[in-house]
Structures are given as structure tokens and as C-alpha cells.
Amino acid sequence: MKNVRIVFSKTGRAKYVSHLDLVRTMSRAVRRAGIPLWYTEGFNRHPYLTFAAPLSLGYEGLRETMDLRLEEDMPYDRLVERLNEVLPEGLTAVSAAEAVCKAGQLFAAEYRITLYCSAEAVRAALALPELPVEKKTKKKTTKTVDLKPYFANATVKETGETAVMTVTLPSGGADNINPGLFVTALSGILGSEIRVDVLRLRLLQADGTEFL
């Protein structure tokens, strides 16, 4: 029994696949690929398959991760090849390797956010003394969070009609900031709904190296 971590991308039409649907889609893809999966024992046997960090509906991701437990060995490049033969449009396996980091080591994620407004407006918002926004908590209540410190590391570039922001935000168990919160805050400031494309570039450990 071996845990394998697959790095995959989720782009294009696949961005509309919700996390729950992604789990189902991947589990079927692995079956189609004829990968020798390990099944849980017990009454309701199911394949062992986990994801480090769910990606919000509508976001794209370049280096998402999925862990599989195999019953017998299979060469990693063969695994990637087999998966790509059966994955639907928008989902692509990038690499496979033995899982190094434990799930708890996931600390942050790096995003590229394309905002359909001027870079000026984005910079102005980031320059405000604070950026309060309502955030839902797990207990289904809301609390006010100041985004300002989280977005201190953000860089903004102007690209034609859009502003492209690169930012690293906490992700994982302890703290979680969804980039959509910034869009909510910005829309509030500008008084109109801002369209946005979110791309998660990679997942990171606390020391800034990639979660692999």
C-alpha cells in the first residue's frame, strides 16, 4: 500500500465542477484508467482518494493535488499517462510522486486574480487603512475580517482592461482566506459587481516551498 500524490490542473470547462463533483469525477477516472486502487475495508467499501485543498466553484487551478492509495505499484509516469487518457476536458494530470508533505503541512496558496476593473482602483483599495469584509464562519454565523494584512504581499499589474493581482493567502487548517473576499470588498467600494477570474497557481508550506 502506497500513497501517491497526483498534481493536476483544473481549467476551462472543468472550473464549473464543484469540489464534491470533482471527487466523484476523479474516482471514476481512476477506475476507468485501470489503476490498482486500494479500497477501504468494511461494510461500504470505497476507494481511498483525498484532496489537499478544495477549490471554489468557478476557480481554475494549475497545481492541485489528489492523493491515492494503491494496492500494488505502478510507475508514476505510467500513472499520469493512463489518467490523461481518461480524464474529461479541463482536467489534466501533471505529475505523480510519493506524497512527502502531511496534510497538516499545507499552509498557503498562491493565486493570480484577474479583476475586470482598472489597476488604479485595485491599488487604491489596497492602500486603504483597512479592508473590512464579512466572512462566513463554520458555525454559519458571520464575522468581520480585515483583509489588509493578508493582502500586504499582493502585487498588481495593469493588463489592458484588467488588473492582474498575484497574492499568497493562508490556506489549510488554521486560517483560510478566499480571494473572493477581496472581490466582495472591492465591489463594495466601487459600488458595482466586479467580474473576476481566479487561478490558483500552487499550494505552499509554511516555509514558502511547494506543498508536494
Binding site: 472543468a14 465542477v17 469525477t25 471514476r28 481512476v30 476507494p47 466553484l57 468557478g58
Partner: protein, 613 residues
Amino acid sequence: MKQKLENLFLQVQKPARYTGGELNSVTKDPDQVAVRFAFCFPDLYEVGMSHLGMKILYSQFNNEPDVWCERVFAPDTDMEQLMRENEIPLYGLESRDPIRTFDFIGFTLQYELSFTGILNMLDLAGVPLRAADRTEQHPLVVAGGPCACNPEPLTDFVDIFFLGEGEEVDLEVINLYKEHKQKGYNKKAFLRACADIEGVYVPSLYDVSYKEDGTIAAITPLDGVEPVVRKRIIKDLDTCYYPESFVVPYTDIVFDRAQSEIFRGCIRGCRFCQAGFIYRPVREKSVDTIDRQSHDLCRNTGYEEFSLSSLSTSDYTKLEELLDRLLDWAEQEHTNISLPSLRVDGFSEELANRLNVLRRAGLTFAPEAGTQRLRDAINKNLTEDEILDTVTKAFKGGWTAVKLYFMLGLPTETMEDIEGIAGLGQKVVNAFYTNPDKPKGKGVTVSMSTSCFVPKPFTPFQWEPQDTLEQLREKQQHLVSSIHTKKISLSYHDAKTSFLEAVLARGDRRLCAVLEAGNKRGFNLDSWSEHFDFDAWMAVFEECGVDPTFYANRRRPYDEILPWDHLDYGVTKAFLINESKLAHEATTTPNCRQACSGCGAACWKEGVCVEKR
């Protein structure tokens, strides 16, 4: 348009229903195909994507190099509103092109309450509703499926109906269309030529006249077409096309699994059941074919479950042999087999264990009626002893819940039969408590669910009046007051939707105006209770001067011309009249394997009709 559409996806619930691009969906180059076909299911994605018939025809059409078939479903309310606001017409999921530019728009007619959804989809597509208003520039609107056996309420809107099984006749029509396209296409000439294909009903080529009392005076064929249109059947299911893969949806759908059809038709002949008559004769697939097709499907979809599909799984002649074969690979590959409409009693204990029959399926019976007399009248051959035997065995195995399905308003039903329903439920409860090995500290739950009987065309009950809403309500009340235990939980179906179903099921062409007026009022997806507005329906009937009780609650004499009398499903009217008379004497008819009762389906000389008995 495509960018505008993309912007909508994140504003609606479950956008994966509208994006397309699922695994095994088929994309072609529009410039390289001769015919574009929009296969429409007039209900939501989750419902339509579960339907086996659509999966078969979608794959089969796309198997033709120069045909591109795409899937189209009814958008949910939020999506529809955004589409209308942003002027996005109904589109094919694969190409996202507007279906009004396609050659064919095809609908499957699975239930009467979806008829309003058809008109709404045409409207959303930007296609004129009435066939007469559509020219050579518009797509042809075609339809098939079980409700095509009386398509009269839709005749103003649909150019062509396919009667019976579609695998052969649909492609014949598509091929004829290609020929006509090459030599200069004229809609009228094409429709006339189609009418010569067996199984094709072109409603504009039949004129219906009415008597003063509102009944039909005559159905007159025009332009030299055959006076009667006969349905099509597939003679050999082993050689018939069956898909090697299904489109695998991202989002959860109602039946999210592979499906293998094991036979068509049903030997039983329950007199209320339309499917039991219109799909005759019973034809089976061989064990080899089912085994191969099931395995292919599971391999190509990755589904962790597949079900055997038919009207009555237990009637497959080689069921044990089949399951043995299937389990050989299914167990190894961690694939579950689900067996709907299965009679548990006939199984060996070993096989039942391997299948985990009880764990998955639960215990469900459909006695349909509360007394043996009424069960005989409807020809439902399930006896009280059989039910009690099986539940007793199941209770011994630790089972504590049973579901029972009944119908209210069956022909010849009396209040005594209603009390019988409560009585049967009580006997099941008693069977639990008289069982010495009953699980300690656990109670029993008997869930009884009652629907309202709807008389359907091509059944022995096609002449019967449906109980009025008042009668049905009274029977529901009587049933409630006949139940004296809290171990029985009772649920019943809204009689109002059943009434509308009864009107549409046996309606004629005068209902087209009603459906059109309903479309103007925004009627849509009436099988969903949040959409169905009974009072609005009654207002529309009134406005159109149509009395719905004329269709639902009137006993029709045997010699009346019925709206579907020019359609032939093999089963003869003489046989149905005889069955109707036997029902009123509470006399049963043997099933097709016990003896041939001469229903008429033997005209095809196939399946059970030519089996050795």
C-alpha cells in the same frame, strides 16, 4: 453569445448542468456534418441525464459520421430567467450553438406533465410553437417515447412523431432528410414522404372531425397516407445498437450509474399499466450480450454501480445464470449491481448474499390494491400470502422497514378495498411482532404510499372514468381513518396533478389550444410541485372553452372513436375490450409465458410470442 453565456454560469445553482464537456460527450466539426440534431428532454438535467432511451439514441446518432446529436435539457428557473434577460436562446450542450439553427429538434415524451416544458423549450429556443408557422428555415420538430401513443394534445406543435422503438425509424427519417436536402428540400414534400415509413406519424396528414356531443366523428387520412400508423419494434435486441459508453455527468443526477437493458416489454399484463401493453411483445437480450455490454459500459464510464433495466427484472428467464456471470467480474472490480423491480423470494440464499439484495434495495412491494378481488380485477398477481411470507423472512433477517405502494381510484374500487389497504399494512405490522426472533428494542416501520389511478390509452382501462377529485379525497380520508397504528406511515399523491395527467393522457387535438394558452401564462415543468398551479390550469381550460372532465371523468363507450384509434401498437381493441370485461368480473388473465391470450402483438412473430411454452 458564448462569452455572455459563460458569464451566467457562476450566477446560477449547479452550473455543471449547463456547461457541457462531460466525459464521453461528443463534439464534431459543424462544417463536416450534414445533420444537426438537438435531443431535448423536457425536464431538468438531473432527470433527463438519467434516462436510458436518450443515452441510447444520443450514442447511436453520433455513431453516424455525418450526424451530430447534442443534448438539451430544460434550464432551472434561475438559469432560464438569466437566459431570457440576456437574450441567450436555448443551446446544445456540446457546441453551445442555438438549437434554432439545427436541422431537427427532437423531444422525448416520457410523461404527460412534461408537455408544457416542451412548449417552453421551443419558446426559449426562439422557434415558432406551431408547426404550421415553421418554414424550411426552421428546424423540424419531432418527438417519440411512450406518450407518443397518444400525442394528439401536441399535434399542432410537432411535425413528426415516432411510434414505438426509435433505433431504426429515427435514422431512416434522418437519412431521408439528407436525401431531400440534396435534391432541394421542401418541408411539405418531405413530411409526405416520411409518412410512408412504418412507425412515422405525421399529424398534419390526418384530419379530425367532431360530433356535436364533443366526441370524435372521424379521423381522416389526407394525401393518400395509410389510415392507421403502426409502431416500430426492434426484432433482435442482440444485434440492435447499444452504446459502449455513456456521458458521465459531473454533477449528481437521479440515476447516476450504468444501465443495461435486459429485455423489453412485460409478460404480466397488469391492466392499469400502459408500459405493459405498448412495449409488447417481450423480447430478451442473451446473457452473453448483457454481460459484454455491461462490462464495456463500466469500463468506459468508471461507474461503480450498474443496474439491470427492464419492467420486471425477475421475469428474465435466465436471471441466476446472468447474475453469476456478471458477479464474476463485478465483485473483482468493486462494482455493485442494482436490481430494480426484483422479487426477492425466488433467490437462493447464496446469490442473495452475494448481491447484498436486502442491504441496498430495501423491501418494497407494489400490491397496488388492498383486496384480492381488486388485485384480480387489475390482474396484479401478487397475493397477500406472498407478501407476508417474504416480509416474515426479512424480519427474521433483522429487517425492520417495509414499503408498500398502492393506487386509489382503480376501476370497480369500493370503500371495502380502501379498508383492505389499511388491513394489509396492519398484517405486515403484526407479522413483525409475532416473529419470535424479532430484533430486540426495535420497532417496525411500514411506509404506505398511495398514488391516484390515471386511465391510459392502450390499456384495458382506457374507457374508464377517473375518480373525481372529491371521490379521491374522500378515499384518502377514509384510508387515513382506517389506519389504527402509528407503525404505519401513510403518504399520498396530490390528486390534482393526477387529474391533469388523466386529461392530457387521453386528450385530443382540442387540448393544443389549452397548452398554447398555458405557455403564454408561463406554464412549465408541471411535474414539479413548485411549478404546478392547478387554479391557473382550470382558468386556462375555462378561457379555451374546454371541459377537462370530458376527458378525465367520463366513461367512454366501447364504440366511441378514441383520439388514438388511428395508431396501432399491436395490441388489438378487441383484446382490450375483452380484458376490460374480465376486469369487471374480477377475472385474471394468465401471463404471456403461461398462455397466449391473443393480444395481437404476435403479429411481429418475435420474442415471447414464438417461445416454446
